[in-house]
């Protein structure tokens, strides 16, 4: 097991290298470069930009310098947009009060995951215990609706409903912490002056108000899958002999379902964790863009649109690494849980 682990980990390095090369090549082949739009302003400004970013050098020179920077001093380069170090731009910019992109990405991803399971578990159990009748069918439909709506549409639709239909902006209160009136808003992470204020209960509540649409948008796409998974697991377990035994012992129905079946259903959840984060990339990206959330995906996306190549490459390495590590984790957990499956 250990050698397998080591071998897989060692494989990651050349893997990441190849990925970065592929990405770099793809970016170079796109028309124009980061500075191209400056041509519309003046030749000199364009030239100055090219010199500052070094994009006129040969491809392998730029790539080589970048790799050397990483290897020698863990320097992933700088952002063309504002000169900030890439790692700062992608992960660590911000203060303690405002949080940084890496933090928000984690909050968003895990938050969405938790919300998915919080929603899916009861739904799946409900469907399993009412298997076959219209309630079961309804849960199924509900799940499918979630994954049939394009996520950007869902995001904008939620915001529209909140503002136009529910008029949330009319709910205001006096904030003791800020000393001013605060009203419920949409988009972003906080309302009013909370961005720079110290962490407090008020601030966390306000944060959650801003985050729940994002969680919903990200979770919607996967809800159906998890619900059916929970449902099938429950069905599996409910027909097991030990459940029958528990029933015959006279334990109440609810205790039977919750205690025994749940434990088994939760087991492979951990193995799915590995696939979770990377599969949510698209959802978190769209949520970040529409709902204006300062996450790693958001910073990555802005960089991609402008051709800010070092930020893009570092970002892609990050996401790829998460996916690889995730794959690895899940394969290991899978093998650990089921000794019958062994890979060479």
């Amino acid at each position: 097991m250990l050698t397998y682990l080591l071998r897989r980990l060692l494989y990651t390095i050349p893997l990441l290298l190849i990925i970065s090369m592929v990405v770099f090549l793809v970016m170079q082949m796109s028309p124009g470069n980061f500075c191209t739009t400056l041509k519309l302003q003046s030749e000199q400004i364009y030239n100055e930009c090219v010199e500052r970013t070094g994009i006129d050098q040969a491809i392998w020179v730029q790539y080589g310098k970048w790799i050397w920077g990483i290897v020698s001093s863990f320097d992933f380069g700088f952002s063309f947009q504002n000169g900030q170090p890439v790692l700062n731009q992608l992960f660590t910019s911000g203060t303690f009060e405002s949080g940084n992109p890496l933090f928000w990405t984690l909050v968003l991803s895990f938050g969405a995951m938790i919300m998915s399971w919080l929603l899916a578990l009861p739904l799946g159990i409900y469907a399993a215990t009412h298997q076959g009748n219209w309630r079961d069918w309804l849960v199924n439909v509900f799940g499918f609706i979630g994954l049939s709506i394009p996520n950007f549409f869902l995001a904008i639709g939620i915001l529209w409903a909140l503002v136009v239909v529910f008029q949330v902006g009319t709910n205001c209160w006096q904030s003791e912490q800020l000393g001013q009136t605060v009203c419920l808003g949409v988009s972003g992470l906080f309302d009013g002056g909370y961005v720079t204020a110290a962490w407090s209960g008020e601030k966390v509540l306000n944060l959650f108000w801003h985050l729940w649409p994002a969680f919903l948008v990200i979770a919607a796409a996967n809800l159906a899958a998890i619900v059916r998974y929970v449902r099938s697991e429950m069905l599996n377990v409910l027909s097991e002999p030990y459940v029958q035994t528990a029933r015959s012992k006279g334990l109440k129905e609810r205790v039977v379902t919750v205690k025994h079946a749940l434990k088994n259903a939760l087991n492979p959840l951990i193995s799915m964790l590995g696939y979770w984060l990377p599969s949510m990339f698209e959802g978190t990206l769209v949520a970040a863009m529409v709902l204006q959330l300062p996450t790693v995906e958001g910073a990555y996306w802005t960089a991609l649109r402008q051709g800010d190549q070092y930020v893009v490459m570092a970002g892609l390495l990050f996401f790829s690494m998460i996916l690889i590590v995730g794959n690895l984790l899940s394969d290991i957990l899978l093998a650990w849980v089921n000794p019958k499956i062994r890979y060479q």
Partner: protein, 390 residues
Amino acid sequence: MATSTTNVKTASNEKTSKLGTRSQASLIWQRFKRNKAGFVAGIILAVLAFLVIFAGFLTPYNATSFHADTNNINFDYVPPMISWIQLDGLQPYVHGLQRTYNPLTGVKGFVENIEERFDIKFFVEGEPYLMFGFIPSTIHLFGTGEPEGSTGQLFLLGTDRFGRDLFSRILYGGQMVLGIAPLVVIFSFILGIFLGGISGFYGNKVDTFIQRTVEIAMSLPRLALLLALSAMLPPEWPATARFWGIVFILAVVGWAPLARVVRGQVLALREEEFVQASRALGASDMRLIFKHILPNTFGYLIVSATLAAPSVILLESVLSYFGFGLQEPLVSWGLLMKDLTENFLFQIQFHPWLILPGFFIFISVFTFNYLGDALRDAVDPFTISKGENS
């Protein structure tokens, strides 16, 4: 995404025997028919496909023609006229179009002009089109038969900002969307089956190499890579070439998970007796892979195909939302949605019929999922799948 399944082998997985038992295919069909929801989904999709294939005939207009009145002012944002259709005995008719103007908001609109009446005729002469792309015709199923510029038009689902008929655009757009999805699936399947099959069959170095390539392909965030790649399409290419370019890119980005699934299947089947038997009889490797093993995976492949299609359809709409999908003058559902999402608040309030293309996206994705689900149950009712398909 890989699917880990616990396979319970039954005799029905064996190749057909012609002695009085049902073939595998017909058994699948039987089970499928029993799943009512899936069956209905299949019917809906078939109807959609029919509508889309015969778009030229079924729609009164073309997808790109602007419709204007005699003063050269477009019939822009006409509301759906389907509710305006009335019956005089057995003869359906509509009233003419009359412009309105709301001085408070400055928004123009249309109402019925009850003084004018236009009968809806069937098999009318209209704009020329190419049936199936090559048979020229001018006969449309229905329409008012009025000439260009007349106020007697039949815009079933309304018009867009240029006075282009939305119903026509939706059906023609469906040709793109429902045309892209199967093509993408086919392309990616060819890649995935080939590589997955070889990978699973030969194992060792070949397997490792291909699997690592799969990992690379899967490690790159699909959307980001797709956007970067579609920006790369050479500007000189005409619209149809860019269409094929997008198809190709979508396929390239999508083959990896499939290769993994196929590999898993092949790995499992490789050691089966019937394979060993064939090998003992001297069958070549290629023959073993493609004639004996892979056909037994067809069930799963069909299921994967129907489950991959909706993700391609959604991806096309997301691409169009970002501005990277199909461009004018082509038309697709994603592009039609862009009209709505760009000025969401304005359109949803004043021109809500622009959401209809989204409804079509929803229906096709929804039914594909149901269909795939039902097929999965039909193909192997004994397997309880633990993984997710993306």
